[in-house]
């Protein structure tokens, strides 16, 4: 499997994503510059976190019009796997590849901490290695992560099984306290109806090594990867890091 990680000016998590794919998953991954008009041959594209174009105007608003997003949009419509993390999720919404919008957190503050998420649907390619209803942990780090969609869009998301993750407490309860940003219906991540484009505010790439407290993020990447699980792709790196 070959991953492509788009680098916008202001991307911050591009190097983290490349590290996870190359060293932890042990797969091929390349950086793709935002000015490219076409995508190189890749099996999945990741739009990483950060502050693309300084998040001027609105988070993700300028990046949505960058040359590479034209190519990403075309490829997504023909079925390429696209994953937007944090700022990447914001860009996908701004580009119209996912429904809804991400607004400023309800309390107006940036929040960075580990969050509990309930896996709502494991039928899509992004979540197939999780159990439905399972509680997992991944960190969040955003100032504009309050997911919003109107009632009819929400209804469609619910009925098509497009809601992938919701913020929850340690027991999996969808409480108000467990919702860090005021997202509608505690939504943390969604996919499109075709199931090939997904976006989430939490950072799976920050939850891929035991050293960093959680490895639940790795399971998301493995869901997408064609690597057989018994090969333990991270094992090589884990050994070298230990040495």
């Amino acid at each position: 499997m070959r991953w492509g990680v788009v680098v916008f000016p202001g991307s911050n998590c591009d190097r983290d994503c490349l590290f996870v794919m190359q060293k932890v998953l042990g797969q091929e991954a390349i950086a793709i510059w935002h000015e490219e008009q076409d995508l190189p041959p890749v099996d999945a594209v990741v739009l990483p976190g950060g502050f693309s174009y300084g998040d001027y105007l609105r988070s993700g608003a300028i990046a949505a019009f960058s040359p590479i997003m034209g190519a990403v949009g075309r490829a997504a419509r023909s079925g390429l796997l696209v994953l937007g993390i944090c700022n990447g999720f914001q860009i996908l919404c701004e580009a119209g590849l996912l429904p809804g919008a991400l607004l400023t957190n309800a309390d107006g503050l940036f929040h960075c901490h580990p969050a509990h998420l309930r896996v709502e649907n494991n039928c899509c390619l992004f979540t197939r290695s999780f159990a439905s209803g399972e509680v997992v942990q991944m960190p969040i780090a955003h100032g504009q992560g309050r997911y919003y969609a109107d009632a009819s869009t929400l209804d469609r998301l619910e009925r098509s099984g497009s809601i992938l993750f919701r913020y929850c407490d340690v027991h999996g309860e969808r409480t108000r306290e467990a919702n860090p940003n005021g997202s509608v219906a505690n939504i943390a991540g969604i996919c499109n109806e075709e199931g090939n484009v997904a976006g989430l505010m939490p950072h799976p790439e920050r939850a891929c090594e035991p050293l960093l407290a959680s490895t639940d993020g790795l399971r998301l990447f493995r869901s997408l990867a064609s690597t057989p699980l018994e090969a333990e792709p991270g094992a090589t790196y884990a050994r070298s890091a230990a040495g």
Partner: protein, 752 residues
């Protein structure tokens, strides 16, 4: 030459002293023109040339086996971390700007220290910050202003740090009324670089082109350095134009462009960030360091607005700008890289041979000065110092509280803003970006980062410490204690210290008491560093921290960097396992003076500062490192602010599964002293029962006192002293400790 009366009037206009103007005239053989005088007024300010503190700073030990770049040589110091790699680090203050415009003041403080680090060729790794503010409890206008300042400062640090994608992984925040309206914002940054890629801040090669990269030059931040070298007055808000405005996005792409250009060997001859006094300072400093001159055409500087005078262009502190001296003939390569990142790059002059800084505007020469005269030959003064120690009499408590009666005091200090959890602050910082933060905020006494270096993995630890109460009682001990605590924090996290950087925050140096405090603290820091064999690799001095209500508490702040060999040696501060033995290293301690309990609960701000026994501190650190190497320590936490009471609280509330402890106290000293005293050189560690003996042997070998004081167990802290008992539920303590700051800051967000 000018007359004495003329010099006096010029002095009043420029902030220079009449004798300094005379000195300039004698060196030049003519009076300086208006533009030149403006340059001197900023470059010869305390902020730029350390004229009042330099003599004191020379007392620091700066050499050591791992020192690659020592203090004063470059923009930041560099220490070896093995395998051909170095850690580059420095701390810097942005106190005055944060007082008048907290959000931008703090944000540009982050931007400034960031540029100092990557100017060295290093990829920045993390930030830490040391903040001091006035009282935030209550509804007085001053108190509400302090809350507004805190909200702005934390917001500004988050704004800049998060956007540039460098994690803010730790720090400290304490409160005292002396910081009312004069907050301290000290920001530390560290980065890593291969030895052979360390960049120089010196110009070289006659004829080589000189470029400005980054933002356009505007009027913002004009004479900010001079502003920082004055007292804050009631009219300081009028100085808001002296505060720069940051653009973290430009900061990020300028950093990425510079780091990418540095990868192309031989293109960049010298590089210097533009901070205080902008183009004027960076050109004269690089020229002076390289023993060359520079010819600058000010008409070529890209301006934000027309109509700037030569002095404005030279002294503007517009943010996100770098000065680059390139190898002639390779300009195209730089232009390609900067065009890729969308960062403006403009040639403004070239390197000359005669040691003079020459600037022209509109075809007319406006500056012709020896570069060294502006920088290295700036005046250095010996100021009058007066040592004033607090009374040496220990605090006597007439009717000491019994253990059971200490309950409400314990609750009270757990909720003090200075001691309460700083979650409200650090959750606003992205402390994880870079996926290296192994021990983030409130996980260990130091922040620990995993660093990936072309196939090698290293673990680095960082901490920033300072205790203004001790420094107020005894500046020398305050200096010693800052270093000792920083080293202790590294040791209990499993790290071996490599070196320190310091930030000296004091009052008006022309007041002998304030200067005496600076001198005492410097001598204390120097002595402690010598005892630990640590180099001071640089730092920052912030004087004139006085507002209409008076001077701040003397505030020496020390940031220390350490290294951990293997990840198995990293130690958290929270209790990890039910049934573990609780061991106290360094003894029970005695006395209350200097403690936060004495200051805040008893209202007794006097007595001697806690004694710092440097050999004992060294012994403690050796014991910890030996035990860490064997992997037997499950948790370790030093006893500092709030003594044993707060150490027990923090270890209980930050560990896995919220484990408490059972502790038996000796009959003497008093329960108050045992719980809240802050005798230095003490640690709390937990080990498996079967390792207790080995720890005791290790301690005996290094002559460190060790007591087995109890067990890790339950969901409460249960203490006994003879027949006296005290039991506190962790849930109750946790509500107070975790909630205090959040509640204060969330209560009236819009009204402050």
């Amino acid at each position: 030459m000018t007359s004495q009366a003329e010099r006096q009037s010029l002095a009043e206009k420029t902030g220079l002293l009449p004798e300094e103007i005379l000195r300039i005239e004698e060196a030049l053989g003519r009076p300086p023109n208006e533009t030149e005088l403006a340059l001197f007024s900023v470059l010869w300010s305390e902020h730029c040339c350390y004229k009042n503190s330099k003599r004191e700073l020379r007392k620091f030990p700066t050499q050591g086996p791992g020192v690659l770049v020592q203090a004063g040589e470059e923009n930041a110091g560099a220490l070896d971390i093995g395998d051909g790699w170095a850690v580059v680090f420095k701390i810097e203050s942005h106190n005055h700007p944060s007082a008048v415009e907290p959000f931008q003041g703090a944000a540009t403080g982050v931007g400034g220290i960031l540029r100092d680090i990557y100017t060295m060729g290093a990829r920045p790794l993390c930030f830490l910050d040391s903040l001091r503010l006035g009282e935030i409890r209550g509804e007085d206008p001053g108190v509400r202003n302090n809350r507004r300042l805190l909200r702005g400062i934390v917001g500004g640090i988050a704004h800049y740090g998060n956007c540039v994608g460098i994690p803010t992984v730790g720090g400290e925040l304490t409160f005292d009324p002396s910081y009312d309206g004069n907050p301290l914002v000290n920001v530390f940054c560290a980065g890593v670089v291969r030895h052979d890629r360390i960049q120089k801040g010196a110009a070289a090669g006659v004829g080589n082109p000189v470029f400005v990269a980054g933002s356009r030059t505007g009027r913002d931040g004009l004479k900010g350095a001079a502003f920082a070298s004055r007292l804050l007055g009631s009219d300081s808000r009028e100085d808001r134009p002296a505060v720069q405005v940051g653009d973290p996005f430009m900061g990020k792409i300028l950093m990425e462009a510079c780091l990418e250009l540095f990868e192309r060997k031989g293109v960049v001859v010298g590089v210097q960030d533009m901070g205080a006094a902008g183009i004027g300072c960076s050109t004269s400093e690089t020229a002076a360091r390289g023993n060359v001159g520079m010819e600058i055409d000010l008409d070529r500087v890209a301006l934000r607005e027309p109509g700037l005078h030569a002095a404005d262009i030279l002294l503007s502190e517009s943010q996100e700008r770098m000065l680059l001296i390139l190898q002639q003939g390779r300009e195209r390569e730089a232009e390609e890289v900067f065009a890729k990142w969308g960062v403006p790059l403009q040639q403004i002059g070239k390197v000359s041979s005669d040691g003079l800084l020459r600037c022209r505007i509109g075809g007319k020469a406006v500056v012709e000065l020896p570069a060294r005269l502006l920088t290295e030959d700036a005046p250095v003064y010996e100021r009058e110092a007066k040592t004033s120690l607090s009374s040496s009499e220990a605090i006597l408590v007439e009717r000491p509280l019994g253990l059971t009666e200490c309950r409400s005091s314990w609750m009270a200090i757990a909720g003090l803003p200075s001691l309460a959890s700083k979650e409200w602050v650090w959750q606003q910082y992205d402390w994880m970006v870079g996926i290296g933060t192994t021990m983030g905020p409130e996980r260990a006494d130091a922040a620990v980062l995993r660093v990936r270096l072309e196939g090698k993995t290293k673990y680095l630890a960082f901490t920033v410490d300072g205790n203004s109460r001790y420094a107020a009682l005894d500046p020398y001990r305050g200096g010693e204690a800052a270093v000792a605590e920083a080293v202790r924090n590294l040791a209990v996290s499993g790290a071996r210290p490599l070196g320190v950087t310091d930030n000296l925050n004091f009052g008006d140096p022309y007041r002998p008491e304030a200067f005496g405090q600076l001198r005492g603290a410097v001598e204390g820091i120097a002595e402690a560093c010598r005892a630990f064999g640590l180099p001071v690799t640089g730092g920052n001095v912030s004087l004139y921290n006085e507002s209409p209500i008076g001077a701040i508490l003397p505030s020496p702040v020390v940031a220390a960097v350490g290294q951990i060999e293997r990840k198995e040696e990293i130690i958290p501060m929270g209790f990890q396992r039910e049934g573990d033995r609780l061991l106290l290293l360094g003894g029970w301690g005695k006395g209350l003076s200097g403690s936060i309990y004495a200051w805040e609960v008893l209202g007794r701000r006097q007595g001697p500062a806690p004694m710092v026994d440097l050999p004992q501190e060294q012994g403690l650190c050796s014991v910890l490192r030996a035990l860490a190497a064997r992997g037997v320590v499950h948790s370790a936490h030093d006893l500092s602010d709030g003594g044993l009471a707060i150490a027990l609280l923090e270890s209980s509330l930050t560990g896995t599964g919220c484990l408490g402890a059972e502790v038996s106290l000796p009959a003497s000293p008093t329960a108050e002293e045992l719980l809240f005293g802050e005798s230095q050189g003490r640690l709390l560690i937990t080990v498996a029962e079967e390792e207790k003996k080995a720890v005791e042997e290790e301690c005996a070998r290094r002559e460190i006192e060790v007591q087995s004081i109890g067990w890790v167990t339950g969901s409460w802290l249960r203490l006994e002293q003879g027949q006296d008992r005290l039991e506190i539920e962790l849930a109750e303590l946790g509500r107070i400790w975790k909630g205090a700051l959040t509640e204060l800051m969330a209560a009236t967000p819009k009204l402050d």
